[in-house]
Amino acid sequence: MQLRQHSVLPGFSLTLGVTLVYLTALVLVPLGGLILFTTQLSWGEFWSTISDPRVVASYRVTFSTSLAAALINVVFGLLVAWVLVRYDFFGKKIIDALVDLPFALPTAVAGISLAALYSHNGWLGQFLEPMGIQVAYTPLGIAVALTFIGLPFVVRTVQPVLEEQSRELEEAAASLGATRLQIFTRVLFPAIFPALLTGFALAFARALGEYGSVIFIAGNMPFVSEITPLMIITKLEQYDYAGATAIGSVMLLAAFALLLGINLLQYWARRRG
């Protein structure tokens, strides 16, 4: 009788060991520290910190703008991925490389540039403001910054799946008389839906924690355009480490619940598909 099933692939126990040590050192210990700091607070203090009206207002701003940005990125990220995969055109390589730029650019630089573009004397702002659309220093500006930093997540998760999806399938559907809408909803969309969800989740989670690019364009008015990461910085500035980690752990929990939910949805979509 064999106690251990040997895989044909070598090195499982070694790589698992390394993986666990690595993840513990880099993820679990820091997050554990976060929880530990938070436990310095009594339950009452914890609750009054995280339910302070100004902090609650910041959750609303952060979550709504992050959601809006992630949804915008789902639509336009899919479009960008679609064009990059399905068509050949002059300068495609450059456009493909441009997608990654928000990853590489320091977010503070992005924030300052966006604020410059959209403020009332900026290139775009000077045309938008006469139309009554104020972008800089409003929640709309926050959404713009979050859309910018979230774009690569959707494009880069959807792109490889689209590439795998053979063009013949769509052509076959067309030859069998399917309309374009039917091809999209019945053939294409089910195949890329899980990847699209992943991209959405990544962009959303990234946006929740974003600080650098937002802080310059937000205006940071209490109750209007203050984001939760700024509330954390505010606590730190008062040497309130425990308060800062309390708000941080709320964000962490929310992001975790969100990712879990999307993973479940994905699992369900795969099973159906």
Binding site: A116, S119, F216, G219, N220, P222, F223, E237, Y239
Partner: protein, 326 residues
Amino acid sequence: MLTFVFQAMPGFSKGITLLNSSYDPTREFYREYNAAFATYWQEKGGQKVTVRQSHGGSGSQARAVIDGLEADVVTLALAYDIDAIHERAGLIPQNWQERLPLNSSPYTSTIVLLVRKGNPKNIKDWDDLIRPDVQVITPNPKTSGGARWNYLAAWGFEKQRTGSDDAAREFVSKIFANVPVLDSAARGATNTFVQRRIGDAFIAWENEAILAIEQLGKGEYEIVVPSISILAEPPVTLVDKVVDKRGTREVAQAYLEYLYSDEAQTIAAKHYYRPTNPAIAAQFAAQFPTVKFFTIDEVFGGWQNAQKTHFADGGEFDRIFGGIKR
């Protein structure tokens, strides 16, 4: 946001190294002072000394020292941040501010108003900032140590005039109701006022205001010196536990004491800090108009009190913003 410009590296050279942890706008001043001090120390004791600088927000610099950054000296924007190093890490004694002359503040500054060329809104003093047609730019006192001086200057002006805290609260509320963008740090606020051209008056440290004029737009801005303002005293101290561990107490002490010398006072004045030495101050009188000063101790009973009453959670600043309906 922290910029560690070379941590002290033992064994890097034969001489001695110091690390000065300071706040953002002092970068250029200390670069020049460090060179002057090195020359002075070499001539005096024959020892080669290299001073490394670390700059960032005043509060985040204090946090770095609390969390283990081995700075021999700290030169921060407000005493509250240095108090925190005593309270949270016990690296310095409680009476640190009595160890050097003049509350351990070798140079001072004040809070002034920066307006656009020709002063189109005719802003003369603090009370013009509450006019409904005036937009005011200031960073958030909760996140910017420097901005706490701004807030206290405005509060103190009205408090001195009326003797009433209620009037002062009302006054400061009206100013903040005129603030369209609340930047998290001083340099961001400078950007908003200068580059984005938002706001009619910018509340700023005098040295930052002069610097903004010199570097960002000569002739485009004017400084309005209010009739009465706060005496901003950025303090310095050595970090006892660190200098004793590194064996640098003697040179660190000399480094801070030399800040009061004629040479250092002149360098400070060149970088738009007000010298505390009356003779040097007289030489630069044209640069620094006379202002009626009040100190934080006189009006607010020191930093600890000011912090607790005004900037702690649920304090005056939170109440002010809770009350402003937009």
